[in-house]
Every structure is written in C-alpha cells, then in structure tokens.
Amino acid sequence: MTDTQWPVYEVFHQQARGEPHMHVGSIHAPDADMALILGKEQYCRRQACVNIWVVPHEAIHATAYENDDIFIRGTDKSYRESWGYQTPKTVRATDGGTADDG
C-alpha cells in the first residue's frame, strides 16, 4: 500500500488571553492550515481555549536528555532568588548608617 503518512505538527494552546501557549500534543496533518483545523478539535474540544499554534515537528530543536546535567547548578545560586536575601523587618538607620538588626 502507498505510504500516505501525513507530517506531524506539535500543537500548543492558549487557555485565555494573557496566558502562555502550552504544548498539548501532536497530530498528523497535511499542512499547517489543516493542522489548525484538525488540532482544534483533537485538543480543544473541551477545555477553554482562545488561540492555538501549530509547529512542524522538525522545527523543534531540543537539548539532549543525556546533557540534562547542564541544568544542574554547580554552586550556590541562591543570590538569584528573593529567598536568598535577609532583610530586617524594620529598619532604623543611625546617623552612622548602621541598620538595627531587630
């Protein structure tokens, strides 16, 4: 039998304006416009949705899982976080400029 395999498109939906588009899955479709038409009913027939994106599967570039250690922080990076800082509840600066640690 002839191979009639349609290409794969990844589908992203946006649940409300202002929300990010989220990946929901993928479909076979002959072209991008059909992917929008068909993707809408496979992935958005129940949940709220205001917009969808479809992207050809080949257009996705991904990191390799075997390199997932690139995401591990080697040293203390708490300075990037708000919880990495300690500030007193009340601050009374003296004339000399030292804070009261209360």
Partner: protein, 261 residues
C-alpha cells in the same frame, strides 16, 4: 420593523409561519448531523474523524435548540419531535437525507449546507423575532468553524490529484440540485418576510450562490449548468432514504416511547 420580543407575542399567521421555519431548520440540522455522525470511527484518518464528529454534534445541538423553541411554542418536547414523527411529518430538504456516500460527497454536502446555514443565520441575526435572533447569534461561532473546515478541505481536494478532482466534481454534480432544494419556496415565505422574521428563500439562495461560487471556482470545480432544484422536502415529500434513516433512528425509541432512556 417592530420587534417581537417574546415567543408569547407571536400570534396568528406569523406564529404558524415561524413554526414551519423552525421545523425546516431543526429537521435539516438533525438529519445532516445524523448522516455525518455515521462517519465517526470510519473517516479517512483519525484526525479528520474527530473534527467531522464535532461538526455532527454541533448540528444536532442546533436541532435540539430549535426544537426547544418549538416546544416553547406549544409543540411536543424535543425528543418526541426528533424521534417520534413519521417521515412525512419531517420538513428537511432532500440534501440532508442522502446517504453519506464517499468522503468527497459528505464534505461537499456539508460545505454547501454550511454556506446555506451561514446565509440564513446571518439573516436571522437581524430577525424581528428576538429570541430567534439571540439564539442564532450564539451559533455563529460554530458555523464559522464549519466554513473554515469546509473551504479548507474543498479547496485542497478539488485541486489536488486527477482522482480527487474527479471525485469532488462528481460529488458536486450529485449534491448541487439537492442543495438548491434547501431554498424551496414555501407558502410561509411572504409572511416571514413581511414580519421581518426571515429573508425570502429566493433572496437567501442568491446570497448562497454568490458565497459558494468563488470557493468552488478556486477549487477548480464547476457548478453544474442545468441543475434543477430538487423540491418536496418542505412539504414532507422525501427520498426513500429518509424513511430508512428514521427506521434506524427510531429503533430503540419505539421499543417504548413512554419509557425513560
């Protein structure tokens, strides 16, 4: 034109005409929804199966909504109207009664039908009958999707391969005369137009022709020259396929129409 704010305000000849209009619309929606539902589990590819099934659900949902209005106008409840009538009591056009045929036929039929529905819903959104105008306004988003679906498919299949072109042209030749039957004139047209409820069928047909012609042309398909409209559905004369369809549709219901299912 005076607005008719509530269904209760409908009287006399206008009321009778509205009832007839609603039966036509509801029966068309029910039967085409039923026909399209026959594709669920059998379409050319899973993704297409899902989308077409949603459209069948939409059409049946519209039918139910129209039957609800009829019920509010004193007719029987929606289930009894849908499942409990004899073939000659239905007011649907022959287009929707025909068997589903191949994918090309079902797509062309649905496209021609949706274009007609869109023309009608656009007219009804301005209807003097406020409850109907409100309902039809709500349905237009679904119809817009149906039009996108139909045009996208038809444009592609009409132009793609020699085989697909031939199949689509054959489907159009078969469906077109029946599609004209969607605009079968009725004895109520004048009353509906006078009361500002709905545009005359003749006028709707012209709008429909100018809506479908450019798409069919872009799809490389020719509207059959001498298509003679197939009438009769609006007065209860149907092709034999409707009785067969109803036999199936009413099979369980008629085991015991009084029972809860």
């Amino acid at each position: 034109m005076d607005k008719i704010e509530t269904l209760d305000a409908l009287t006399g000849a206008t009321r009778e005409a509205v009832v007839h209009l609603l039966y036509r619309m509801a029966d068309d929606e029910l039967i085409i929804g039923h026909r399209n539902s026959e594709w669920t589990g059998h379409a050319p590819i899973l993704e297409a199966d899902i989308a077409f099934s949603s459209m069948a659900q939409d059409e049946m949902g519209h039918a139910q909504a129209y039957y609800e209005i009829l019920h509010a106008l004193g007719e029987r409840d929606p289930d009894t109207l849908a499942f409990g009538r004899k073939p000659r009591e239905y007011r649907c056009a022959s287009l929707v009664c025909l068997p589903k045929g191949d994918w090309g036929f079902s797509l062309i039929r649905q496209f021609l039908y949706d274009a007609a529905e869109q023309v009608r819903l656009t007219a009804l959104a301005e209807s003097s009958l406020v409850p109907l105008a409100q309902l039809t306004t709500k349905l237009r988003g679904e119809e817009k999707y149906h039009m996108m679906h139909g045009r996208t498919w038809v444009l592609r299949l009409g132009n793609a391969t020699t085989e697909s072109h031939a199949k689509m042209q054959a489907a159009l030749d078969r469906a077109y005369p029946h599609a004209l039957g969607l605009f079968e004139p009725t004895e109520f047209d004048e009353t509906l137009a006078q009361a500002g409820v709905c545009t005359r069928e003749e006028e709707l047909q012209k709008q429909w022709e100018s809506a479908v012609a450019p798409v069919l042309d872009d799809a490389g398909l020719e509207v059959p020259d001498s298509a003679r409209p197939v009438f009769g559905g609006r007065v209860g004369k149907h092709p034999p396929e409707l009785a067969e369809l109803l036999n199936q549709m009413q099979m369980v219901y008629s085991i015991d129409p009084a029972a809860k299912w």
